[in-house]
Symmetry: C2
Amino acid sequence: MSDHIVDWKQLRDYCKDIFVALHVPPDEAYIIADCLVDADLCGVESHGVSRMAIYTKRLQAGVVNTAMQVKIEREYPAGAAINGCNSMGMVVGKYAMERCIEKAHENASCFITVNNSNHYGMASYFVRMAAEAGMVGFSATNAPPNIAPWGSSKAYFGTNPVAIAVPTSSDPVVLDMASSVVAMGKVILAAKLGKTIPEGWVLTQDGRPTTDPEEGMKGTVLPIGGPKGYGIALFVDVLCGILSGAQFGPYLNNMWNDFVNPQNVGHVFVAIDISKYTDISSFKERMSQMILDIKSLPKKHGITELFVPGEIEERKKRNQKEQGVILPAVLYTELKALGEKFGVAINF
Amino acid sequence: MSDHIVDWKQLRDYCKDIFVALHVPPDEAYIIADCLVDADLCGVESHGVSRMAIYTKRLQAGVVNTAMQVKIEREYPAGAAINGCNSMGMVVGKYAMERCIEKAHENASCFITVNNSNHYGMASYFVRMAAEAGMVGFSATNAPPNIAPWGSSKAYFGTNPVAIAVPTSSDPVVLDMASSVVAMGKVILAAKLGKTIPEGWVLTQDGRPTTDPEEGMKGTVLPIGGPKGYGIALFVDVLCGILSGAQFGPYLNNMWNDFVNPQNVGHVFVAIDISKYTDISSFKERMSQMILDIKSLPKKHGITELFVPGEIEERKKRNQKEQGVILPAVLYTELKALGEKFGVAINF
């Protein structure tokens, strides 16, 4: 079977309609669908519409609330502790970053914690909101265990990603990285597509290297820079899990096989209003200088272009918006079946 | 020549007296000496008293101000933009983190930028101040170029470290890491001690691997996780250099060979008041749980103990406070000569 090329807006509408069929309010269904399709547009397929199956399964099982409920438990000029009340992660994430931007606009910066949430998709979705508002955006989330503390063979921390973005005079510069060499999502996607994975990504349950994604899913993913990546994963969990009052480490419930207990994921959001610290036009000019400098540096043999973080993703997004999103046949079939299940016709 | 074992307080007093002889006000001389000796106590010798020679040389050359001058250029409930006025980095750093803690105490969190500063020593010194105040502390600094953007062979970014700390019911948990596999300070120290360095730390000027620290000092250090470490180094420079209004990338002046132009280094400081987000005793209990869990995990073959970030350093500090700080003979000789130069007698 060959890949399907589909229009991104049609894909987004289709996903949105499926969520609406599951009783998600239309504006919230839009946010979730937009976040998923945005990941596919960026080439981050692991966090894209390949997640429709698990999200709909969880909504249908009632283990996640269909309509957003949030409670601001504590609020300050430069902070808030938000209870996500087991709502969909993307919807709570967008809500929290909007509050964060408002408060940073008033007081220069803001740091917000969220507990009782769920998988919130691609972290860069939220930090780009801050960049669009002329701010530095930062976000991180914890996740069920996939990384072993350095020296151990047993997973304790999630791949706990961090994302940061800043505006420039054109596309934002965006770093969105797991604390591990790869996101477990990429291992899961490889398993779904029946592909092998490179050595150096994962270890088996008993600490051996493997190229089999199924074995990797039962084992651990390697942290970047050894003890450093372990340290990053730990601190993401301290902020997102312990400080927020969510679960942490192995106490987080698994999205893939627990349809009874809410996940109780935690996130943090930071916004820093650039105009409070420096002139925004001078900030953007200096960003342009840095980007130009980098792109003009001598390249290693075999390298044709140097990129700043997020540039490859922005370019893929532009291309796929024009030429259509590439969906592997197996994923297209899965999406089509979901539509049939929930009474939504596929028209692409 | 064998190592010298010296009392840490005598070492600190000696370093302090040398700075005072160079017209640094006594309370500021104490901060700089404390920061340096603290690094040695932690086993981070690259940022310890081995820096006395360059700091005193710069003070004597008049390229750094002897007495702190700072100017709060902009101030908000949750932020400030501080001009370090070319003062010593440690002194400005301590001042900025103190302001940051005060503001976080009022408003939940705070983010402060500093420009026109100098090398500020070990980043963990400042974040531990926040942890002692019951807060999450974060700090980062830029530095002259040592890391090449991914795909290039030419250095553009410093090893740009980030540090974060949180309090626990005993020692704080502290992560202090360069964006590179190793800090350039370790390469410099190896060169000073005439030692070789492991492969995988540095590349030569033309991109070849080497174990010669002198060659590495002219080349680049490798970022952790390849493009990820490059991304971290870039964003540290965006915050510390571009946002703060300090220099960035190759425009930062070099501490080691430029005694005319101020460095114009930038730093950022973050404090998050834990008690504003959750109950501090519950935070500490949950930290204890996490630490206990980690230390009880199965160990890989050959591993005798699992550590949380900063634990090895805290243990070394305790040992060296009791048993004395180990100074290599070459460093002892250098320190003794400095004392002779500035009229301070060595008594250990």
